[in-house]
Amino acid sequence: MLKPVSNVVIVGGGTAGWLTAGVIAARHQGRMKSGFTVTLIESPDIKIIGVGEGTWPTLRSTLEKMGVSETDLFRHCDAAFKQGARFARWTTGVEDDGYYHPLMLPQGFHQVNLVPHWLEDEGGRSFCDSVTPQGALCDDGLAPKTITTPQYQAMANYAYHLDAGKFAPFLQKHCTEKLGVRHVLADVQGVKQAENGDIESLALKQGGEIVGDLFVDCTGFASLLLGKTLGVGFKSCSDVLFCDTAIAVQVPYAHPDDAMASHTISTAQSAGWTWDIGLSARRGVGYVYSSRHISDDEAASELMRYIGPQAKGLTPRKIPIRGGYRETFWKNNVVAVGLSSGFLEPLESSAIVLVELSAKLIAEQMPANREVMDIVARRFNEVNHYRWGRIIDFLKLHYVLTQRPEKFWRDNTDPATVPDRLKDLLQLWKYQPPWFLEEFDRLEEVFPAASYQYVLYGMGFRTAVDRDDNAQTRSLARQQMQENAVMTQKMRKQLPKNRDLVRKIQEYGLQPI
């Protein structure tokens, strides 16, 4: 007889655990009355690592599908808007060196590739400003919508900056109260496996055991089920991405009404980069660096210099990081989501979006029974290998085009440290700019071709232009760029300041329609 999969057990109660629980429980709500269960086991003592306070726009639909109110997110997680990232001093390192990676696609992206047209006549404007209003909106510190825009809807595409330490308990409340997720506060003491390696049940230190059909490992760096129990190895990517240490501080605002950037500010430093994230209640600031290139003390003083007078009295918290991912993500009846599956420096806020994508894939492809689980697992592994590989390529792209002189940056441009696929693409892009057709054809590509365009041309990369080839689409391209200019003007006038809208949302809330 076929063994149905109807009891999902998630181990670990951080952002990954609760997001996965919420996504699966929301998707399978209808089956709950016939015995489908989602159980989350969380240790009463283990502290949550608040990874990445930056998110991707996907989180909006993920939360909406879970039935979470966006107003509550703003009220309970110190959330604020994020419209992309500004990479400061990554190219030359001089004072005004910087570019945006916004969240909006270039104007008319699906009709025409504006890159060759912009290259032909830059008109004194950056690529970003030529094709989207979002860089200008960030420059002005504007919100991506108004108080009359319904919840989760946008005028300019957006994600959130949020307090991950508050996000997990917020999701927990929603999952247990609204979605029927069972919450077990206990430590996993032993794992009982079947002959084929499948996990049958987990023994709890506080007594009792939890049986399940599918186990989701959200135990963070510990990787209790996939790594420790099933012995799946870890594939480091330190040969490509050198950062192995992070230090983080919470910087208070001098005044609660201080302006709040509506984008992440990522500034290149001597041996890595700093993040600067505006939450409604404070800023989250940190330095991700390569310990081979700088000492902890030097890194700490570099971070304090970046923060300036506000740094007084703050002590950075050190977080060792290990870039890389598991050789397999789903083995037997165990699938890893979140840090247990791997970690990458938060340069492009990939952590939470990877959790969302994995959770969604598990929820959508939920194997009906144990017999088909291996097929689903194989597909899941394929997709995830592809995703992690592409993200590493994309992160590396930020490093390879730099002209900065420090050893950390020179080492980064060493061809031996660049993945082959990225090397090929860089070669190809000298003659044809990335677009969405050929290279990026995967469903739910984490970083679409537009992201590559913003980084490449933001960092001064140049692709050869064929004027005759441009002639075919020139008038369409001009029209799109004009439309962008008009839209930019309009939105700059229409949109409120990020701080003002966040305060209004906290006070009045957003409407459901």
Binding site: T146, I147, T148, G509, Q511, I513
Partner: protein, 231 residues
């Protein structure tokens, strides 16, 4: 509220000789396209205007309003120098007055203040006009709260939907009216019996059908606009 206001509590002594113009005119602020109305006014308003929902620009909250015009600052029912013949919503009738708690306040910088109807009689007692204003605010205050609860009920039952109004006029111009909402009739028809009875008992079903019926005023409003465009 603009900076051009000077709102003070109405004072029997200080404002004893104050007069207020009650007629309708653009210079008095009657040229308004969308005027908030309370549920108690729906029957009067629906006889002339479409009653729709819109969002407050400050809070994003929904409110009900009567549409008096198509373009900004346009009241198609207003003819300068002539009395306002159709129903005049309380929010236009109130003139320069406000409430401050249980007291009445007046904006002394409002262009209506000067000549016109006296607020107090020779004996210092409130005039009939001022009494009517006091009554108006009594209705308005309770009405605002009732209307807020009514709108909240519509929202919680998912009965509000955006309405897309595109108009073409004989002079070739077009208008697209945005940020307007109405009752979703499919959602209304799909309500369970107990919900329908509840709406009926609370008087909301009547208000809902008045809103739906008032949509028939839209073409009339467009006709008025058309006539005005033709000059």
């Amino acid at each position: 509220m603009t900076a051009m206001t000077n709102i003070v509590l109405l004072d029997t002594k200080a404002h004893r000789d104050l007069c207020v113009e009650t007629g309708a005119s653009a210079r008095f602020g009657d040229a308004r396209r969308f005027v908030p109305v309370i549920v108690g006014e729906f029957a009067h308003a629906a006889a002339h205007y479409p009653i729709l929902l819109s969002k407050d620009a400050e809070t994003g909250g929904f409110f009900c309003g009567a549409m008096l015009g198509i373009d900004e600052d346009e009241n198609l029912f207003l003819t300068e120098g002539k009395p306002f013949e159709t129903y005049r919503p309380l929010n236009l009738q109130r003139g320069p007055f406000f409430t401050a708690g249980s007291d009445i306040a007046i904006d002394l910088d409002n262009p209506r203040v000067g000549s016109g109807q006296a607020l107090f009689g020779a004996d210092g007692q409130p005039s009939l006009y001022l009494k009517s204003i006091m009554n108006l605010f009594r209705d308005l205050k309770t009405g605002l709260e009732q209307t807020r609860v009514f709108v909240e009920t519509l929202l919680s039952l998912k009965l509000i939907e955006p309405i897309d109004i595109g108009l073409s006029f004989d002079d070739g111009s077009r208008r697209r009216l945005e940020d307007l909402y109405t009752v979703n009739q499919d959602a209304l028809n799909a309500l369970s019996d107990d919900k329908v009875v509840e709406l009926f008992r609370r008087g909301y079903l009547r208000a809902i059908y008045l809103m739906i019926a008032s949509l028939k005023q839209l073409p009339m409003l467009a006709q008025k606009k058309n006539a005005r465009l033709a000059g």
